[in-house]
């Protein structure tokens, strides 16, 4: 069973539907015991970093998430991926989960780009052996919708980049931990391929 963590922030059901479309048994939950029971974990997220951490704490989910992150496949999507890191410029006083090391930063106004980075952009695969990226090439585009992006401390964590004024980490991967800055559940066939890759992980 894949537990999709519902902490009251946006687009939970699209993620659940996409996982189900790949044949997964899904439980949308905000209960620590469900997270403990699950085989895999998805941390979705639309919203602001600080509110998200407050909600996760409110439901007492931090210990269960950190515990699961030590052994089960975990996929963070968009804000859910950013929460895995140490901290974000979006919330200076609200640290993240520190499951991955690194910070989340905003696209600099010096880049003179439109922010949010919104729309379909190419992935640049850096680690083709990443199980999440099986069958994904640099021709594939996925849907982004964000103003912040993670800067992992360990450069090996970045499995794929995207380019928007600079190269940033679009997919992170470390052992059983995965994160996507884009929305695979909204990225049509390419996105569903990535979701299926996660579902098929052992």
């Amino acid at each position: 069973m894949i537990a999709v963590i519902d902490y009251g922030m946006g687009n939970i059901h699209s993620v659940a539907k996409a996982l189900q479309a790949s044949g997964a048994e899904v439980l949308v939950t905000n209960k620590p015991e469900d997270i403990k029971k699950s085989d895999k974990l998805v941390l979705p997220g639309v919203g602001a970093f600080s509110d998200a951490m407050v909600e996760l704490k409110k439901f007492n989910l931090l210990p269960a998430i950190k515990d699961s992150a030590a052994k089960k496949p975990l996929l963070g999507i968009c804000l859910g991926m950013q929460l895995l890191f140490d901290k974000s410029q979006e919330a200076e006083n609200q640290p993240g989960l520190s499951i991955l090391s690194g910070d989340v930063v905003k696209f600099s106004s010096k880049l003179k780009l439109k922010v949010p980075h919104m729309g379909w952009n190419n992935l640049k695969v850096k680690a083709a052996q990443c199980p999440l990226l099986k069958g994904i090439t640099d021709q594939d585009q996925v849907y982004f919708c964000h103003s912040y992006y993670p800067v992992p401390k360990e450069s090996g964590t970045t499995a794929a980049c995207a380019e928007y004024g600079l190269e940033f980490a679009a997919v992170v991967w470390k052992n059983n931990l995965y994160g996507a800055q884009f929305h695979p559940e909204k990225s049509q066939t390419v996105g569903l391929k990535i979701i299926r890759n996660f579902v098929e992980l052992c």
């Binding site: 946006g10 059901h13 699209s14 919203g47 949010p116 729309g119 379909w120 919708c145 996105g191």
Partner: protein
């Protein structure tokens, strides 16, 4: 490279797709879920659903429709029309929409933009502006284009961006429904005054119209409705044409 987006818009009334020519005459063009599936298959980059009755009639049915759409398609979509407060926004995002579009209520109560973007993030807050050319400016109209506000559209766009809007959906009331092309002058003026993406809307009739709004007016996305609903062009045709003209497009 970030692609320019082609966005079909479905105006919804009583759960059905309609398109108002200059916002007045309505014609029925089908079931929203079926239309959404067709556009998904054609490679639309996003969809916009505007509930044009929502400001005046009860709109709980909209949330049910949003859930139904999200169950059937895996692409981003925006929902607008009659959104009044934070709880409306939460309901629609929770039902599976990627973004909400605020129009009348944002003009009446601009704090809704800042509250909503603080709570849900700028990336899901679209501010829709209906603008009409006046003597020396473009004026913002609300209530589905019925009520003039005296507000300058460019100033309002700047303010909305500052308050935390993540995107502007700009409809020119002068070109909407004419099929004579997007309002390039207005779109260019607006894209150059805000630091957020702009979706141009109103007036698409030919392939070149899409090219012009990207190449000369700096739009990040182009929205069209009847052109696609009545299959004068498929989305694929539009995108292939743009790609061949050198515009960054996802095929």
């Amino acid at each position: 490279m970030l692609s320019k987006r082609i966005i079909p818009c479905l105006d919804i009334k009583d759960g059905r797709v309609v398109k108002g020519v200059k916002f007045l005459k309505l014609r029925d063009a089908g079931d929203p879920v079926e239309v959404a599936k067709i556009y998904d298959a054609q490679g639309a980059d996003e969809l916009v659903f505007l509930d044009i009755t929502a400001s005046f009639e009860k709109r709980k049915t909209l949330v049910v429709l949003v859930e139904k759409i999200a169950k059937n398609i895996f692409m981003p979509f925006t929902v607008g029309g009659g959104i009044g407060d934070i709880s409306d926004i939460r309901d629609i995002l929770n039902a599976g929409a990627e973004k909400v579009s605020l129009n009348t209520q944002a003009v009446k109560c601009p704090e809704l933009i800042s509250d909503a973007s603080a709570r849900f993030g700028s990336q899901c807050i679209v501010v829709a502006i209906d603008a009409k050319k006046q003597k020396d400016c473009w004026e913002v109209f609300i209530n589905g284009g019925r009520t003039p506000t005296g507000i300058d559209a460019l100033e309002w766009a700047r303010k909305a961006a500052k308050l935390g809007a993540g995107e502007i959906l700009l409809t020119s009331m002068d070109t909407d429904g004419t099929k004579d092309g997007y309002d390039l002058e207005l779109t260019k003026a607006l894209t150059s005054c805000v630091p957020i993406p702009v979706i141009a809307s109103g007036g698409a009739g030919k392939l070149e119209d899409f090219y012009n709004v990207f190449a000369s007016a700096g739009a990040d996305a182009a929205l069209a409705a009847s052109l696609f609903h009545y299959q004068e062009y498929s989305i694929k045709q539009v995108k292939e044409y743009l790609k061949q003209k050198g515009i960054a497009i996802r095929l």
